[in-house]
């Protein structure tokens, strides 16, 4: 009796996204949109909903979606497959492979022991060490994807060093907690510094056309209070949302120091990985100054690791999970980009925002921020959303009387912290998602709640602070 019911449940669950897709598809196209835009929205929504209700894994949903989009003539094949050549997508994949070298060489274990020896008294201590390390290095990295490539091997080593394995149900929660801390820390540290992600300078450039001059210092002053509050609050909040199972590790600090001593000097592979990693980090930091391509820097590092046999072709061949990540990320990246190109994002943003005309400014302000954050369910790139919607929302908000500096800063900070709302909400997330520690359900549930917590912090604490300091 139970088995058929379970099977029926699974069938119903799988039928829901298809029904939703067909329902939207055959609904008359709203005035102002075109048929391809509406149909692509139907396909994209079906794919995302199927993942959220756990009907299909991301890879299955993405491959079905891209096939449907091309075979129905909704978008051209060249546009649908463009994500496979996208630099950000490739950077994620290469960063993931480089992380494997850090772990394989033993350097990751050494780093994790060093971190544990300093912060290892409790799991919460480890989480704070991730947030603080990321916040400290963030201003030097113009790309949070590249920063994710630096942070991920450390977090992975911490998880593995603590005995947490993705396939072991007993030990997995600790790794899942640390992985999500990595994602959340990248989201809030990107809001802390103007130079911590490529979306921030784009937003500042647009804000200039609304009469706002934002520089490194004024950004830091504006972001400091809400962002530092988020850094303080998120580790314990995530601790509740994703209980790691291990609370305190009283002997860990001493044990880590002892283990670190017993490791002795750096081995050959560790030295090579250290040098390659240091050169990659330098390249990423200096990318803008030296006109270096971030992805090419990552490829150079990966090439060096392969040439020196630190990574072998066998290692690469075992990275089936990376291939799966590459496939779904590239597909979703392209489909979301096409939704924007076909005018869907501008249409929805414009219609929603203009519906707020005549509303008292405080209500309009809150509504605009909430809408802006929720719309990130449809985006796979933070920069794309800033380019598509930031100007529209500032324009409408200032027309309803919202102070422009308040709205601009709040939207710009949201453009960073909303990245955890979905696993594909920021390419830096994908590196952590690919580790296998976090389940699909956890990613959407905890991602949505983390974004909600950040939204509350930035609205309740950030708004009065911005009214005080933002000019």
């Amino acid at each position: 009796m139970g088995v058929p019911a379970a099977k029926l449940g699974a069938v119903v669950k799988r039928a829901v996204p298809f029904a939703l897709t067909l329902g939207i598809w055959f609904t008359p196209v709203p005035a102002g949109l075109t048929e391809p835009a509406w149909h692509l929205f139907a396909i994209f929504t079906g794919a995302i909903v199927s993942v959220i209700v756990d009907a299909f894994p991301l890879l299955t949903a993405a491959t079905l979606a891209v096939a449907a989009a091309v075979l129905t003539g909704t978008i051209m094949p060249a546009k649908a497959f463009a994500g496979f050549a996208n630099a950000s997508v490739l950077l994620v994949i290469v960063a993931f492979l480089v992380a494997r070298a850090v772990v394989k060489s033993g350097l990751g274990r050494r780093i994790s022991l060093a971190v544990v020896s300093a912060f290892g008294g409790s799991t919460l201590g480890l989480a704070y060490s991730i947030f603080l390390t990321d916040a400290a290095i963030a201003p030097a990295f113009p790309s949070n994807t590249a920063r994710g490539g630096v942070l991920f091997p450390i977090v992975l080593s911490l998880a593995q060093g603590a005995g947490s394995m993705p396939d072991d149900p007993k030990t997995r929660p600790l790794g899942a907690y640390l992985m999500f801390c990595g994602m959340a820390s990248l989201a809030v540290s990107s809001a802390l510094w103007l130079t911590a992600t490529s979306a921030n300078p784009i937003g500042v450039e647009i804000a200039e056309h609304f009469g706002l001059k934002i520089d490194f210092g004024s950004w830091l002053v504006a972001s400091s209070v809400p962002t530092l509050a988020a850094i303080l609050l998120l580790p314990p909040v995530l601790y509740r949302l994703l209980p790691p199972g291990v609370r305190a590790t009283p002997g860990a600090t001493a044990a880590a120091r002892e283990a670190l001593r017993s490791l002795g000097p750096l081995g050959r592979d560790e030295k090579i990985v250290s040098v390659a990693f240091a050169l990659m980090v330098t390249g990423w930091i200096m990318a803008r100054t030296l006109s270096l391509d971030l992805t090419a820097v990552a490829f150079a590092g990966l090439g060096a690791l392969l040439a020196t046999s630190v990574l072998t072709l066998d290692d690469i061949a075992q990275e089936g999970g990376t291939l799966a990540t590459y496939l779904w990320l590239a597909v979703l990246f392209a489909l979301s980009g096409q939704l924007n190109e076909l005018g869907f994002m501008g249409y929805v943003g414009g219609r929603l925002a203009s519906g707020l005309q005549g509303v008292p400014w405080l209500a309009a302000y809150v509504a605009l921020i909430v809408l802006y954050v929720l719309m990130h369910y449809l985006f796979v790139s933070q920069s794309s959303q800033v380019l598509a919607l930031f100007g529209v929302f500032v324009e409408v908000g200032t027309r309803t009387g919202v102070p422009a500096p308040l709205l601009a800063f709040s939207l710009l900070f949201a453009s960073s912290y909303f990245s955890t709302i979905t696993p594909q909400g920021g390419s830096q997330n994908v590196i952590f998602v690919g580790s296998g520690y976090l389940t699909q359900g956890e990613l959407y549930r905890v991602g949505g709640l983390t974004t909600g917590v950040c939204l509350l912090i930035f609205l309740l604490l950030g708004t009065p602070w911005l009214l005080l300091v933002a000019r």
Binding site: P28, E35, W38, V53, I202, V348, L352, L387, R445
Partner: protein
Amino acid sequence: MRRACIRAVRSMVTGGSGYGMLRWRSRLARKAPWWLAPAALVLWSACSGPARGPEVALAPGESRAFTGTWSASGSRNTLRLGPDHRASIVSLTGSLLLTGSRGLGIGFQAEVIGMSDNLTGGQGHCVWTDERGDQIFSELRGGPLGSGSAFVGTITGGTGRYAGLTGEYRFRWKYVIDTEDGVISGRTDDLVGRAQAPASTPAGKPAG
């Protein structure tokens, strides 16, 4: 009842185990973020305008004014013709939202392909497509594509209910942002224009 509601909300927020009838709900909550429903409602409300816009059919010879906003993004390929001279091919698509009750409807998907020269200015061709697939064609002329540059569009015709349409529109790019990876994005919020239907359509039917 109140307790049950509180338990349900709590289980949705924490993803913790539910009780009795609420168990399936908490399982669902573990999979779906609690604000998916409001998110869907919000999105639906944005798209739930009339399936057809306000009456857009123009009587033969009728002239109508329209205003709107235009958000566009795409790519720019630049050819350097010397230290101070650059020419670029630009391809843009986006959403053109019209305002006013008797304009040309709610909006269009707008596509532009054009050339911009930083010394001589920009020109291009533009297609607006509505929800029925009917199109309006125009030619654009203006300054080099960039923030603040002004453009004039000349409507040269269309298809379906816009067949034979003529007119003109003007706008100024409020901002145009070029990103490092060749993506270009811009927005104008002051598009104004006027369109006129032909005195009689080629088939002798009223436009629209």
